[in-house]
């Protein structure tokens, strides 16, 4: 084939102002090279025409190939011109790793960019901050020697045995003493508890002090969309949820059964739960007679071989995990139950005890369709010689999506120290696995079952006991040494077995002093995986999960956002019927009011001047800074519905203010028994999902109205006729206060649905008054807004 010619001719490419070619010296050689490189990048090669035209015949094959050649060259040109763009190092560094100090301090760039940056900084003449030089005076010398001696002393194993904790304290029948994470910062942890990953998060996220813990609230970068992407399509998002309170109830099987029965109203006592195959996740109640839920909990019985008659007196354990906001109430209830069981006359259980493991067991929550895969890549099971389990584990983790695991499934696992195993390099992206493939799903189910079987899921996890949890964390350098050891041994073994077909898995290389870190993996109702670990190991596992595989980290706001997108309620915000929810609401109200008061009058909404134009007097309905449950559940408003005698009696006998809402957790039961429960339902409240029909996104504390019967047709018209816009005259006016049925507790634009959505709580009595439970349309109006928007609600 005739060699291709360069595209643009010399005449076209001549520099505009006729610059002289400089005499060559070292600098100009580099310029020359650059120039040639630039020219090469900008040239598009083309074929002369002879190749496809021969003797008056048009050769189809050559014709097509000349097209293909052109395609190739144009693509190459696009690629080359992109590559030739001179990009500085700081432009290439991913957004989350960019630091301001990197502009004059090489140390703040990721290691792989430092060399390149060194050259660039030299070229552009930036004044780099020099490395700190140590002053050498006698005092300093003595100090340095002292430090060195300390360092050498530390390297001795004996030092570690004395100094480092093996496990963290557990309170038996009393609250545990909280743990101090970094001794250097002891003073800062006087009245708050740090999470195991505090230092890591503090550099990357904005922290808040909540429920006695310092928890990341949101990352430093903007991450509304990345969070959505990570939890929906991407590698996943990891949270340190060690602030969740864990308690272990220990005692005879029968008494445990009874206790759990009471707090979960017998929902957690099904056979699978008692066996320890699955973890129960649902509402728990306090001991009194009313149906007031405290919050949501995860209840996991320690697995046993079988449920039989001989079980009644056997010692067993139950793990109960609650949100810290609900911990106080739960602890009180359980503690009372324990004392009662110990001291009752009929069949007492003197050994029953309640362990407060809040600072002994930490956890990591992972969301995302590839999250299992990330776990599988970075953590390895330590099970000697059990190849089938490893295969099942790799099959299960290859699936990636936690939603494929059955709800509440629990896996007691034992991992290697993740610092001592090889993990895939950063550049290797996690490959996709079509989770939609039905055949693959069944394969996964099978492999999961197999794995559970082989793991002896009927054998209890060491995480339950203090001895099981006390695996000491080695110094990082020692762990790294172990990694090198393992790699060397592995490559030796691979070389030795090169001829054989068997691929030696790294997992089967177990050294004598390898630790097996107990962990429990639970598949949660919100589609996440909770990985329960001993407190001292959480930070290490967390770092290993976040760094390599493009998973992102998040704070409370991101957790809230993910649940909101999945239309699931988030504790405590979306549980106004619980004491914890009410506390949260009060806090938010004071916060909002404070902010509002501090703004100048021209820059804030004046709620008193709000004119809804529906014939009522001006002003916002209820307290504009909160979901005003008191306003909604005012006795007068409801008295008209219930006969006055009954309601008067009820008010006297109720313990808390009758206006405090309580949450209905079982809608079906409430619906069927409503006549029986009529008195109690006055202040009852139930959770619904809200989906907007047109535009608009509900914000927290937005007001929800039922639609008056005569206006229904007007509102329904909005659905058909898109041109009726809030400004126009046909747009219906917001209903009056009587029609208020509830408030939005969380809401916003839902990237998953593509429209506004939220979680709300509606008052039972009001809904019944305003049209019953079958008419699901409602109007949502933000606080301070005049316009109400049409929405649908769906009870959870």
């Amino acid at each position: 084939m005739v060699p291709p010619t360069a595209g643009p001719s010399k005449s076209a490419n001549q520099p505009l102002h006729g610059t002289k070619r400089p005499a060559s010296d070292a600098n100009n050689d580099r310029d020359e090279i650059k120039r040639v490189k630039m020219m090469n990048a900008r040239t598009i090669l083309s074929q002369p025409s002879e190749s496809s035209l021969k003797q008056g015949q048009l050769d189809v094959g050559a014709f097509v190939s000349s097209r293909k050649y052109e395609i190739q060259q144009l693509s190459d040109s696009m690629r080359k011109s992109k590559a030739i763009q001179k990009q500085q190092t700081f432009q290439v560094v991913p957004r989350s790793l960019r630091r301001r100090a990197a502009s004059h301090h090489i140390r703040f760039l990721p290691p792989r960019f430092r060399e390149q940056a060194q050259q660039e900084y030299k070229d552009s003449g930036i004044q780099l901050t020099p490395k700190k030089r140590r002053r050498i005076t006698r005092l300093h010398l003595r100090r340095d020697t002292a430090l060195k001696l300390k360092y050498f002393a530390r390297r001795r194993k004996a030092y570690h045995c004395d100094r480092k904790r093996s496990t963290y304290p557990v309170g038996i029948n009393e609250l545990a003493t909280k743990v101090i994470m970094e001794r250097k910062f002891k003073k800062r942890q006087k009245d708050k508890t740090w999470l195991p990953t505090h230092l890591w998060h503090a550099k990357r996220a904005h922290m808040i002090n909540k429920w006695g813990y310092v928890i990341p609230s949101h990352p430093n970068e903007k991450c509304f969309r990345p969070t959505h992407r990570a939890s929906q399509n991407g590698s996943g998002i990891v949270f340190d949820t060690s602030y969740y309170a864990t308690m272990i109830l220990q005692g005879q099987h029968d008494s445990l059964h009874m206790a759990v029965n009471i707090i979960s109203r017998s929902k957690a006592c099904g056979k699978t739960y008692l066996l320890g195959d699955r973890a129960f996740e649902g509402p728990i109640y306090n001991d009194s007679n009313n149906d007031c839920a405290i919050g949501e909990a995860v209840i996991y019985f320690e697995p046993t071989a079988e449920l039989g008659d001989g079980l009644a007196n056997k010692c067993r354990r139950v793990l109960i995990r609650v949100h810290p906001a609900a911990f106080d109430e739960t602890w009180k209830t359980l503690r009372a139950l324990v004392t009662e069981t110990r001291e009752r006359e009929l069949d007492p259980d003197p050994d029953m005890e309640l362990q407060d493991c809040r600072f002994a067991i930490g956890s990591i929550d992972i969301f995302g369709p590839k999250s299992l895969k990330v776990v599988g890549h970075n953590l390895r099971l330590n099970l000697e010689k059990d190849v089938t389990v490893h295969q099942a584990w790799s099959m299960a983790t290859a699936a990636g999506d936690p939603k494929l695991i059955p709800l509440g499934a629990v896996f007691p696992l034992g991992f290697f120290d993740p610092r001592t195993i090889s993990t895939p390099s950063r550049d290797r992206k996690v490959a996709t696995w079509e989770s939609r493939d039905v055949s693959k799903q069944s394969l996964i189910c099978k492999s999961l079952n197999e794995m559970a079987r082989h793991l002896g899921s009927r054998a209890p996890s060491p995480l339950f006991t203090t001895q099981g949890r006390s695996i000491r964390v080695e110094h990082a350098k020692i762990a790294h040494g172990r990694l090198k050891q393992r790699r060397a041994a592995n490559s030796k073994a691979v070389d030795a077995k090169k001829s054989s077909q068997i691929l030696l898995k790294k997992e089967t290389l177990v050294f004598n002093d390898d630790v097996s870190i107990p962990a429990i993996m639970i598949r949660r109702a919100n589609g996440a995986i909770s990985l329960l670990l001993p407190w001292q190991w959480v930070a290490i596992f967390f770092k290993k999960l976040v760094l390599p595989a493009y998973t992102i980290y998040g704070g409370l706001q991101q957790y809230h956002q993910i649940l909101c997108e999945r239309m699931l309620p988030y504790f405590p915000d979306d549980f106004p019927g619980t004491p914890a929810g009410q506390v949260e609401e009060r806090e938010k109200m004071t916060q909002r009011e404070k902010e509002w008061k501090s703004r100048p009058r021209s820059k804030k909404i004046i709620y008193d001047a709000l004119d809804l134009r529906n014939g009522e007097k001006k002003g916002e309905v209820g307290n504009p800074f909160a979901c005003d449950w008191r306003y909604l559940l005012e006795a007068d408003a409801i008295a008209g519905y219930y006969p006055p005698n009954e309601s008067a009696n009820q008010q006297d006998s109720s313990s808390t203010g009758s206006n405090a809402p309580w949450m209905i957790t079982d809608m079906a039961r409430a619906l069927s028994e409503r006549n029986k429960l009529r008195q109690n339902l006055m202040a009852a409240v139930f959770t619904v999902q809200i989906i907007m029909i047109g535009r608009g996104a509900p914000r927290p504390s937005a007001r929800i109205y039922g639609i008056p019967v005569r206006d229904r047709s007007k509102w329904m018209q909005l659905k058909r006729n898109r041109k009726i816009v809030p400004g126009s005259s046909e747009y219906p006016v917001c209903p009056k206060r009587d029609y208020l049925i509830g408030f939005v507790t969380s809401g916003g634009f839902n990237l998953k649905e593509g429209k506004g959505s939220g979680i709300a709580s509606l008052s039972w009595a009001k809904v019944e008054q305003n049209g019953g439970f079958n008419y699901r349309y409602c109007i949502v109006r933000d606080v301070g807004e005049r316009i109400g928007r049409l929405a649908l609600y769906k009870p959870l």
Partner: protein
Amino acid sequence: MVRFKSRYILFTVHYPVLTDIDKICPSDDSASNYPARFQDKKAPSLSDRNILPGGKEGNLGKEMRTLLHKRPAPDGVTLNAVNTAFRDALNRNFGDLGAGLVRASVSLKYFSPATSTGIIRVSRDHYRIVWAALTLLNEIAGVKVVITVDHVSGTMRKCEKVAISKNIKVVRELSGDL
């Protein structure tokens, strides 16, 4: 700071009156890959026929027209020839003023004689002059030509992408059309 903005014009050269292609036939080695209708050599002789696309060639089927839509350039038409002819056209049609306005910024970035496709770069302010000059250009190196503009855009990449997609379409039609 105002940026210097440019336009990239993707154009094709057509040869309305050309008699040097007599028949269309498949190459010997890849005979199996191409549609059956090209297999037989009974294609009619194309001499003395006006083969403008859309012209009324009775027995030239749509497939032939596809092929000859962008046929390879005849011998005289090379990058330099196109360049010269184009600047000539500018001068003739728009005079010294017109030619001077664009001369600094216009450049022929790419021309392939194999496919008769080219890309010209102009400053954004005067691209219409260039476009008009291309339209009025009717002879390159003695060969009668008609130039059509396929795409105008602010970046080179977009023009390249359009060229690629057109080529892909042709290739797909010819090789997938079995």
